[in-house]
Symmetry: C2
């Protein structure tokens, strides 16, 4: 159960645990600053498939398989999945997660879906509706460019403010118990990642087990509203999403009566360098200074200077992979104690863009805290 905080937040009385997570990404992500922390890197971005959308489905399947393997759980031990992606009619989710045969709540929050999924998963576990549930999201550079802008074959030039959609997926398993009792060496026998491209899964699972000093709990959430500042440039997603991130962070701090310094880090999903600057400006206008605590998954996953990724990484996969590979382990090792995770989404479709509509944004905040296991 939970206490309603302010206008749009909940604080869980018995916070759910993140019992395991798994992530997989493409070659470019593998070459980036956190590449060595990602569970699996594909040998190429096809992931054994002929079609980009199929490749993205494979990402969802592999991420969930990894998370299950690490937790030593079978698919039928998950009661619900909360999942989504960026494609029209959530195609990667429908085809990637079908084989698991788990009751599914399909979600669409653009790149904020990782936050939406974690929020609903936490609400479901905290209410006692399920013992263990999963939250899965993905994006793929090639399927996203085809869906929202131009097919890669067109070789369109990109302005510097453009973000680079991350090819990757992250899966999180949430439970009422911390999962500490699980015997990882036994559990590894139950892992069936079922893919020929695994490079480091076994080693990662062993590493995760050793590193797991603390557990991680979701102690609260703030659910975002759609915010429309009139941005119409589909090449500048950071500007479209920053107002929603500012609205959500401001609402969160107010609802919980917290100052930014309560957190070790406030981590937005995929604003990139341009969106980050707008976010800090918008919050400064409200006399909120998060500058020294803020980072963005899109700035962590790529080195923009070296990798030519414009303003930074983006997509549902950006927030999910960076959280799973980089920040969750920092919480588990005790290097971070409290973080506010704010995946951000741009509510854009090819049709709405072609019809001259604005690009509204939405963001969902999730509080993650390290806890004694």
């Amino acid at each position: 159960m939970a206490q309603q905080m302010g206008r749009q937040s909940l604080q869980f009385e018995n916070p759910p645990w993140i019992i395991s997570s798994g992530c997989i990404a493409g070659t470019k992500e593998g070459e980036g600053p956190i590449g060595h922390e990602i569970d699996l890197i594909g040998e190429d971005d096809n992931f054994g498939c002929d079609i980009w959308e199929e490749a993205e489905s494979t990402l969802q399947k592999e991420a969930l398989t990894l998370a299950l393997g690490k937790a030593g759980l079978r698919a039928d031990e998950l009661r619900y999945l909360f999942a989504g992606d960026l494609l029209g009619q959530s195609m990667a989710t429908s085809f990637g997660l079908q084989p698991f045969e788990i009751p599914l709540f399909g979600l669409y929050g653009a790149c904020s879906t990782a936050g939406e999924a974690l929020a609903l998963a936490a609400m479901t576990v905290a209410a006692g509706y399920a013992d263990v549930v999963g939250a899965v999201t993905s994006s793929h550079f090639a399927s996203a460019e085809k869906q929202f802008r131009f097919p890669l074959e067109y070789a369109n030039q990109r302005p510097l403010c453009t973000t680079w959609t991350v090819t990757g997926a992250g899966a999180f398993l949430l439970g009422r118990e911390s999962g500490k009792k699980q015997n990882y060496s036994d559990n590894r026998k139950r892992t069936d990642a079922g893919s020929p491209m695994i490079k480091r899964a076994e080693q990662k699972i062993a590493d995760d087990t050793e590193q797991k000093v603390c557990g991680v709990r979701i102690t609260g959430i703030t659910t975002g509203k759609i915010v429309d500042y009139g941005v119409r440039d589909s090449m500048n997603m950071g500007a479209a999403m920053a107002p929603a991130a500012a609205d959500c962070i401001q609402a969160h701090l107010k609802d919980f009566s917290r100052s930014p310094s309560w957190y070790d880090k406030i981590i937005t999903g995929d604003l990139g360098a341009v969106g980050r600057e707008i976010l800090l400006d918008l919050l400064a206008q409200k006399k909120i200074d998060i500058g020294s605590f803020h980072t963005d998954c899109g700035l962590e996953i790529f080195d923009n200077e070296v990798q030519g990724t414009g303003s930074g990484g983006s997509g549902c996969g950006c927030a999910a992979v960076t959280m799973c590979a980089h920040f969750l382990p920092m919480l588990r090792r005790g290097e971070l104690k409290r973080i506010l995770f704010v995946p951000t989404g741009a509510l854009l479709s090819k049709i709405s863009f072609n019809e001259g509509e604005n690009i509204p944004g939405i963001a969902h905040a999730v509080v993650l805290e390290a806890a004694e296991n």
Copy 2:
């Protein structure tokens, strides 16, 4: 809170109430068998807009405005919205619901979204996460044909097994209290439907108040899995969805240890005539006979013989409008006591279809019971 029932169901200990609902539909729906029960019928299917997608956004806005007006609530009294539609990146929801500024969980379950939204809304209220929440879904014939098949201007011929996407939206407000105390004549003053095309809203609100003998509660839910029987014909949605409906209904009856006769009606979302036949066949193979209790919203909303609607109505709007206009009032008048509402969705996108993928299905069941107000 709720009791976990079997593998995929919940029974609520303190079942949430449907405190009000509102629906709006197009001219063809207005001429159909339940047309006189629909709150608002547009003068044409543009609903004052130039673009089909904008028209669909207007449907969501009007349906929610009506539901708020009937309940005498302001938008800021709703804590969360659970909403979705059929369009890529849920465009009708993003643009239709933005003006209300209510924290939003965006959903995608194809035409099952009405069931998914009611389920998550009920879970949220039953857990005490909110006092009042809304569930909104829509579809529009013209935007759906353009999105999934051919633009209307192409004048494509349709096989008889095709369903006809309903132009309409339904909104449901769920609360912890029944809402009986609300003074409807006072509340009417707060209604602001904000549209020039209102024909019967005032009268409908007055009728609803008089008819309201019983309250309606959501006492349980069964969340569906993705089911893929290999159907690939985007002109035969009924066949694609029937296996998921059969799977969900079978799981529901097993989880709750109920026979079909426990219900006055088992109402699927939009299988149409073809899908209904397949559903009854599939369940008969499992020795489950729901024939005498079953109906389908797609068979209620149109008269296929007279209106040339092929196999029947379909779309998120089909289930939502038919429930709101036809079945909810029957529960409120005490003519039905218990119904199982099973919106059904075909997980199809233009891209997945063009790439030769199957059309998997999903269905979500919601138990609605009349209760003393």
